[in-house]
Structures are given as structure tokens and as C-alpha cells.
């Protein structure tokens, strides 16, 4: 028998329509169901009663007696029987996950590092959170010695973890390509000495990505994130050179040449992969056209993300943009299906959804690990929780040049404690185990606190998840048919 005593459905089951499907996502088990119209309305009715009268949670029999009056008795019995069976199997209305906060070793175990090898850039992107390169400081390149200190730090603080990750970031890291080359050689050698493997990624605007650089990255197995915003007019408006001239004409041939070398790049960013990554702003809330433009160019791995910007900026989102942005995600979902059916398949990073094969709950609670598993290093050797905090004195964790290079304990703890369960707004949100409470930097930028979420970010995240689950269902249906 279905037991809903004290069970808040809206908190634990997300019921929604996407395309022509009615979907139920069971938050605690991560299960996905497609419902017919009757069940959908039936559960909706129960949710509405619970919402209108929270006391009714204690008397679920009374709720079940009052809802479903429009159904024939037999139909209602069938629905109740199916719901009860799924509850018994813990696939729907499943018990709330035990509230176990993430636990960590006393000394932070650092497994990934963002290495700011160049606080300088050959572009002047208008939305750049690095202040077009220098992160509020001076335009500077990281020395080989500082880079080596960073790699030593990572190997020393990664404990038993066999895989360590280093991302070459900037500004534009290829402005310091010689140091990048030397650090890859150094990192691999030093990691091998201690029985570890060092995995490298590089985030570039592709301006300097010539054949020689591309071959080097290919040979060394470096994963690459390439920046492009989409259509020429969109890209060039926000990603010009210092002269004001747009970058599209130069970078697109280079990007296309590079990705040809990696036809089997993982959509889940595993192994040696590439992703072409763009940013959308208030100016292109129809960004699905930019994603499709890239897909039409032959780019198979696309990520386009919302800008994070102070409200005063012209390119920052306004409240009225939300409807258009959500519509863009809806259209993009349908277009992905259309392209797939025509044999022109591509993946959109934020529509990837790990469900039965996704991360465990502890990982979902703790999120990106900024400040205790993941750190960023400035060209001068200063340590910050992540690339977005670089240059913010309040968030400086330490320095590679300090004796022992210990991280500031209270700051480490502050980031460790900023997990999903610490965020009030997340406690009853259906997306709580899929977004980890959002990006720390975006939350701080909006609310000045790590544990207060960025509401627009939440709305966008939830929309992306809805489409992602829809596409997952469509993909599985297609596989079953084949």
C-alpha cells in the first residue's frame, strides 16, 4: 500500500512536462519515470493538497480519499497499485537520503589544480572575469620555477590519490607556451617518480593554436577547452582583440583543424578530450542558435554557459531574460534530437546527466571541491580556492613560497562546510543532488556568502536538468527500439 505519511512529494519527486512527455524524477534514488496523463494529474493533485494544507502530510489517507475524484474506481486502484509497487522498490517516493555531511581527512587532499601560467591575454573579452587577463593585478607570466613549485605542491598534497589534474589557464596560457611545455615534461616525470599519473588540460582562446602547438597537445595527450561563443557576430561582439577587431575569423579554422584530430572525444570529458566552450549573455539569449552554428561547423562537443556578471553591466542578464533563456534550452533539446535523427549527433555539455552511472551522494553533496580538493595558483605562486577567486585577497589560501605552503585552515573549513546541506535554499529543492548548491564563486558574487545561492543560476540549472533528463529518456527509448 502506498505510504505517504510525512512525505513531502514536491521536495522528493520532481514532476514536469518536457516535449510531449510527463516525467517524474525521484530525487533520492535518481530514478526516472515516464507517466501517462492520469498518473501525472493524480500526483499533481496530491502535491497541490500538500502545498495548500501542510498539516495534511500527517494524514495521507485523508489526502488519498480526496484526490482522484475524476477517475473511475478501477483506474484509481490501478494507479495506486503501480505507485505502491514503485515505492516498495524504492524507485518512486523513495525514502529521503540519510543526511550524512561529507567527511574529509584532517589535512586537505588536493587532487586538481588550475595553473594560471599567464595573467595576460591577446584578446579583450568584455565579460572576462579575469579583467581581460590580469585578474585585477599586473599582466604577468608564471615562471618555470613557480610552476614547478606548484606541481611539487600538488604531488605532495594529493595523498594516496593516483590521478592528479592540472589545468593550464590564464589569461591565455599559450602566451607562456614554453613554460607549459616544460611543466608538462616536469609534471609527468615527477608524478612517475612517486607512482602517480598527471592529467593535463589547457583552456585556450585558440589565437595561438597553430599546427605545431596542436601537434604537441595531441602527442602529449593534453585535453583542451577551446573558447568560441558561436555565430561570428555574437563572438566578435564580446571576444575582440585590443584593436576591437573580432577573433572569429582567426580562431575558427584553428579550432576546426584541432578537433579533427580527436573524433572520438568523450562527451563526459574523460580521457583525452576537447570541448568548445562559449559564454552567452543578455545579447544572445537565443544562444541555441550559437550552439547549432557550432554543431553545423562540425564541432561535436559544445558547452555554452551563462555569463556571471555584475548587474550594472550591459551584457548582464535581466529578470525578463529568463523566459527567453529557458525557451532556448527547450529548443536546443529538440534540435539535439533532430540532429541525432539525421546522423549529425553532437553533445551539449550541460545536457549530460549522470543518473544510474552518475557520481555518488558524497560527491554530489560536496561539489567542485574548491578550496580543499581543487586550488588555483596565480603567476606569483599565490594559492586560491579556484580560478574565479584569484586576486581576491579575502580568499587567498596561502603561497607556494611560504615555508611548508600550508593552506589557511579557517578558509579550508569554510569551503568544506559550504555543501548542499548548509544552504537553506537547497534543503527542499529537487535539484539538490545534481548541482551541489551551485558555483561558490557565483554565490559569493551575488550574495557575498558561500552558503547563499545565486537564484538565477538555480533557475538555469533546473531548466538544464529538466532537458537533460528528457534527452536521457529519449536516448534510452531510441536504444530500446534499435
Amino acid at each position: 500500500m502506498l505510504n505517504l505519511k510525512d512525505y513531502n512529494i514536491a521536495k522528493n519527486v520532481h514532476l514536469y512536462r518536457q516535449g510531449d512527455l510527463s516525467i517524474a524524477y525521484d530525487v533520492n534514488s535518481g530514478s526516472l519515470h515516464v507517466l501517462d496523463d492520469q498518473v501525472y494529474s493524480y500526483i499533481q493533485e496530491i502535491i497541490q493538497v500538500q502545498r495548500d494544507n501542510p498539516q495534511s502530510l500527517a494524514d495521507p489517507e485523508k489526502i488519498l480519499r480526496t484526490v482522484g475524484s475524476g477517475f473511475a474506481d478501477q483506474e484509481r486502484e490501478e494507479i495506486l497499485a503501480e505507485l505502491a509497487e514503485l515505492q516498495k522498490e524504492k524507485l518512486l517516493f523513495s525514502p529521503e537520503a540519510e543526511k550524512i555531511e561529507p567527511s574529509y581527512p584532517d589535512v586537505p587532499l588536493i587532487k586538481a589544480m588550475c595553473l594560471h601560467v599567464a595573467h595576460d591575454c591577446n584578446l579583450r573579452c568584455k565579460y572576462c572575469f579575469a579583467g581581460t587577463g590580469p585578474f585585477g593585478g599586473s599582466r604577468e607570466l608564471m615562471s618555470l620555477e613557480t610552476g614547478q613549485l606548484a606541481i611539487d605542491f600538488l604531488l605532495k598534497h594529493s595523498g594516496q590519490r593516483a590521478q592528479c589534474e592540472v589545468d593550464f589557464f590564464g589569461g591565455e596560457p599559450l602566451l607562456n607556451f614554453q613554460v607549459v611545455r616544460q611543466l608538462i615534461a616536469y609534471g609527468k616525470e615527477e608524478a612517475q617518480k612517486v607512482g602517480k599519473n598527471m592529467k593535463f588540460t589547457l583552456t585556450t582562446n585558440a589565437v595561438l593554436l597553430d599546427e605545431a602547438v596542436a601537434d604537441f597537445l595531441e602527442e602529449e595527450g593534453v585535453s583542451v577547452v577551446l573558447s568560441l561563443d558561436g555565430r561570428q557576430e555574437v563572438n566578435d561582439k564580446m571576444r575582440p582583440y585590443a584593436s576591437g577587431k573580432g577573433s572569429y575569423a582567426r580562431i575558427v579554422p584553428r579550432i576546426l583543424n584541432f578537433i579533427k584530430k580527436r573524433p572520438d572525444s568523450s562527451q563526459y570529458a574523460i580521457g583525452k578530450y576537447y570541448y568548445v566552450r562559449g559564454t552567452y549573455t543578455h545579447y544572445n539569449t537565443d544562444f541555441y542558435k550559437d550552439v547549432l552554428h557550432m554543431a553545423d561547423l562540425g564541432i561535436k562537443r559544445v558547452s555554452v554557459e551563462p555569463v556571471v556578471a555584475p548587474p550594472k553591466e550591459n551584457y548582464a542578464f535581466r529578470a525578463e531574460d529568463l523566459v527567453k533563456i529557458k525557451e532556448s534550452y527547450d529548443i536546443l533539446g529538440e534540435k539535439i534530437l533532430e540532429y541525432r535523427s539525421k546522423g549529425k549527433e553532437f553533445s551539449f555539455f550541460h545536457f549530460n546527466a549522470g543518473l544510474d552511472d552518475g557520481p555518488c551522494l558524497p560527491k554530489r553533496l560536496s561539489g567542485c571541491g574548491a578550496g580543499h580538493e581543487y586550488v588555483a595558483i596565480s603567476p606569483e605562486g599565490e594559492i586560491y580556492p579556484c580560478h574565479q577567486f584569484v586576486g581576491q585577497e579575502k580568499y587567498k589560501l596561502g603561497s607556494l613560497h611560504d615555508s611548508g605552503s600550508y593552506l589557511k585552515e579557517e578558509l579550508v573549513q569554510e569551503f568544506r562546510k559550504a555543501h548542499v546541506y548548509a544552504k537553506e535554499e537547497c534543503s527542499s529543492c529537487w535539484a539538490r543532488y545534481s548541482c551541489s548548491g551551485g558555483c561558490h564563486a557565483a554565490n559569493v558574487a551575488f550574495s557575498r556568502e558561500l552558503t547563499k545561492v545565486y537564484p538565477l543560476g538555480c533557475e538555469l540549472q533546473k531548466k538544464r536538468l529538466e532537458v537533460a533528463y528528457y534527452l536521457k529518456i529519449r536516448e534510452i527509448e531510441q536504444r530500446t527500439l534499435v
Partner: protein, 46 residues
């Protein structure tokens, strides 16, 4: 066979509260995403 509900994915997420946490997975922001945490996009590497 169920008439009204089709279960497409059977998950057991809440059980991993005790069995998970090995920490061998990739850092989530270290991939294609540099501005928003996307842990739900990842796959378990265990």
C-alpha cells in the same frame, strides 16, 4: 507490466551515501565547465 508508468532509469543514489566517497573522480569544474558546478553531469569512475 505497468500500464500507467514506465520506469526508464532505476537508480539507488541514496544507498551511495555509505558506499561512495572514494574520491577518485575527476574534479567537476576541471572539465568543460569553468563557471558553474556541474557535478550531476559527471559519471562515476569507480
Amino acid at each position: 507490466m505497468a500500464k500507467h508508468i514506465q520506469t526508464v532509469i532505476k537508480g539507488n543514489l541514496s544507498l551511495t551515501a555509505k558506499t561512495g566517497g572514494c574520491g577518485q573522480c575527476q574534479t567537476s569544474c576541471q572539465s568543460a565547465c569553468k563557471t558553474s558546478c556541474t557535478v550531476g553531469n559527471q559519471v562515476c569512475e569507480k
